[in-house]
């Protein structure tokens, strides 16, 4: 574009372009009549507006996108995207899908009884603790779960830490709420009668009236019941023979980790030494507490009570430790003396 210089002033010049526009521009040594090409045109506010608008629009879109991301990743994703599943087996089997923040996103029955159990149950907005609690109550009400029955729970997620935390949470919830009524297995692939429960944490919630007497051997961990034989960690209840970790129900004959129902009837133990049965209902195998195979003892990784043998515990029960008998040894912390107090 060529410009004809029409007029000059110290600070500017008036030019005429080839299309008939008259404009003011910088006077770069111009003289009237010159034809010039590269000009510095006068800029007025009217021209600036368009650019500003564009920038503002882009900024607005960027801000909106940022807000969206914040909400999405900060709130939506942790609360509404599936993060792990929990499978609960009694007889009925159900599976619940959780978000990272333990909100229950889905609940389905894995077998006919399971579907029956959850029929018309509304889980929306509830968290793991609530739903678990309510489902167990339901199961009890509906007759699927009775005292002494066992429940096994397995948790799965790609995030191992989360999984461990959930397991821990589940364990303590179960202990607190159902301690005296049912046996609970928590682990990866816990199935009622599986032998090895790897890493399963056995939380035995004893209470069943007649549990196997476990003379002592309880290698378990917390012996709650205090009397007599406990060895084991915390004996709450004193009837003797408990060993094992937490004996809720006192009395004897439990072995294995926590024998809740302990009652001493020597009888049930079956074989005191060989295998202290803890609960009438289960016998080793996976009572979770009591370990599999054999006799009352537990072994395998019950975590509490350890493997092998007989009612005693040995191995790593953690609490009470190995070997022996009703007394406690190991660190029960609570009551320690053993039996003969």
């Amino acid at each position: 574009m060529k410009y004809l210089v029409m007029e000059t002033h110290p600070a500017y010049a008036v030019l005429l372009d080839e299309e008939g526009r008259f404009l003011k521009a910088a006077n770069l040594n111009y003289q009237v009549g010159d034809t010039v090409q590269n000009v510095v045109e006068l800029r007025s506010p009217a021209h600036e507006k368009k650019k500003k608008y564009l920038i503002r629009q882009i900024a607005a879109v960027a801000a909106a996108a940022a807000c969206f991301c914040l909400v999405f990743f900060g709130y939506y994703q942790p609360n509404f995207v599936a993060y792990g599943t929990i499978r609960i087996q009694i007889n009925p089997e159900v599976e619940m899908t959780l978000s990272r923040t333990e909100r229950v996103l889905d609940l389905k029955g894995l077998n006919a009884d399971g579907e029956d159990l959850i029929r018309e149950y509304d889980y929306s907005g509830k968290d793991r603790e609530d739903v678990t609690h309510e489902l167990i109550r339901r199961a009890m009400d509906m007759g699927y779960l009775s005292n002494g029955d066992s429940v096994s729970i397995s948790i799965d997620s790609t995030d191992t830490e989360w999984k461990l935390r959930e397991e821990e949470g589940m364990r303590s919830q179960m202990e607190e709420e159902y301690g005296t009524q049912i046996v609970i297995y928590i682990g990866e692939d816990v199935a009622p009668d599986q032998n090895s429960v790897d890493e399963s944490i056995q939380v035995v919630i004893p209470t069943a009236p007649a549990a196997e007497p476990m003379p002592d051997q309880e290698a378990g961990e917390s012996d709650y019941s205090g009397d007599g034989t406990d060895d084991g960690v915390s004996d709450y209840d004193s009837s003797d023979t408990d060993d094992g970790v937490s004996d809720y129900g006192s009395d004897d004959a439990d072995d294995g980790i926590s024998d809740y129902s302990v009652e001493n009837t020597a009888g049930d133990a079956g074989e005191p030494a060989p295998d202290p049965q803890t609960l009438p209902v289960q016998e080793d195998g996976d009572s979770g507490y009591d370990d599999s195979s054999d006799d009352g003892g537990d072994d395998g990784d019950s975590g509490y009570d350890d493997s092998g043998d007989d009612g005693g515990d040995d191995g790593d029960s953690g609490y009470d430790d190995s070997g022996d008998d009703g007394g406690d040894d190991g660190d029960s912390g609570y009551d320690n003396d053993d039996d003969d107090d």
Partner: protein, 244 residues
């Protein structure tokens, strides 16, 4: 300080209205303009002719765009100078490979490249050409002055939007096709608005708003302004026009 500020604001507003006042204001603040330019460009006195021109222009721009609500005038003008100079440098960088004709051709700095250009003849031609243009333009200026219009006015009044500019071009085209209208304009000094509006389909309001510009552009297509018309070759159909 407040008094000075108030004064300068009044001067700025006066300069907006009249080009002589604007010129005077710039002359008055040359010192300020130079010092701001030197701050930005770091070149010393004498080496920075172009930059000074740009700086003066930026100051002028600031005068035209300043509003009372923008804070003090001088800082505003200083910012304008700085920003224009920076823009200028960016553009210059792109053309860096193009040297200046005034640059020294040899080490002694006695001869410039310009001097070494062979064509004296071309230079004379160019000079004459420019002289002829200048004369025509001066004549043009006089005729506009009779109508009470200056080139600055015309530049201010020129449509900035493409749409409006096209409308004005439409008016011009119609006038060129109807030379008697142009004659009438020259004789009376007034634009035959009604006919032009009807004939070109442009509404009167637009025409009134750009009255000074229309006057100038129509005038360019009356007698004698060949060079100017030659320059306006891009303006559209009907080259011959009513040139006489």
């Amino acid at each position: 300080m407040a008094v000075i500020e108030h004064d300068i604001v009044a001067q700025v507003y006066a300069a907006k209205a009249a080009s002589e006042a604007a010129d005077a204001l710039i002359r008055q603040y040359m010192g300020f303009i130079r010092s701001e330019a030197m701050k930005t460009t770091k070149k010393s006195y004498g080496e920075n002719e172009d930059e000074i021109s740009i700086a003066m222009f930026a100051f002028y721009e600031a005068v035209m765009n300043y509003e009372k609500g923008r804070g003090a005038f001088l800082p505003y003008a200083a910012r304008a100078i700085r920003s224009r100079l920076i823009d200028y440098y960016r553009k210059e960088k792109r053309h860096e490979h193009v040297g200046s004709l005034h640059a020294p051709a040899d080490e002694e700095e006695k001869t410039e490249l310009l001097d070494m250009l062979p064509d004296q003849k071309n230079e004379v031609e160019a000079y004459e050409m420019r002289e002829a243009s200048r004369k025509e333009i001066q004549e043009f200026e006089k005729q506009l002055a009779v109508l009470g219009i200056t080139f600055s006015d015309v530049a201010d009044n020129c449509p900035k939007q493409e749409r409006t500019l096209a409308a004005c071009r439409g008016v011009l085209d119609y006038a060129r096709k109807n030379p008697e209208l142009l004659d009438r304009f020259v004789k009376t000094g007034r634009l035959p608005v009604n006919e032009l509006s009807q004939g070109s389909g442009t509404d009167k309001k637009t025409m009134e708003r750009h009255r000074k510009y229309l006057a100038a552009i129509l005038l360019a297509f009356t007698n004698g302004y060949e060079i100017i018309r030659g320059h306006l070759c891009q303006i559209g159909p009907g080259k011959g026009g009513s040139g006489r």
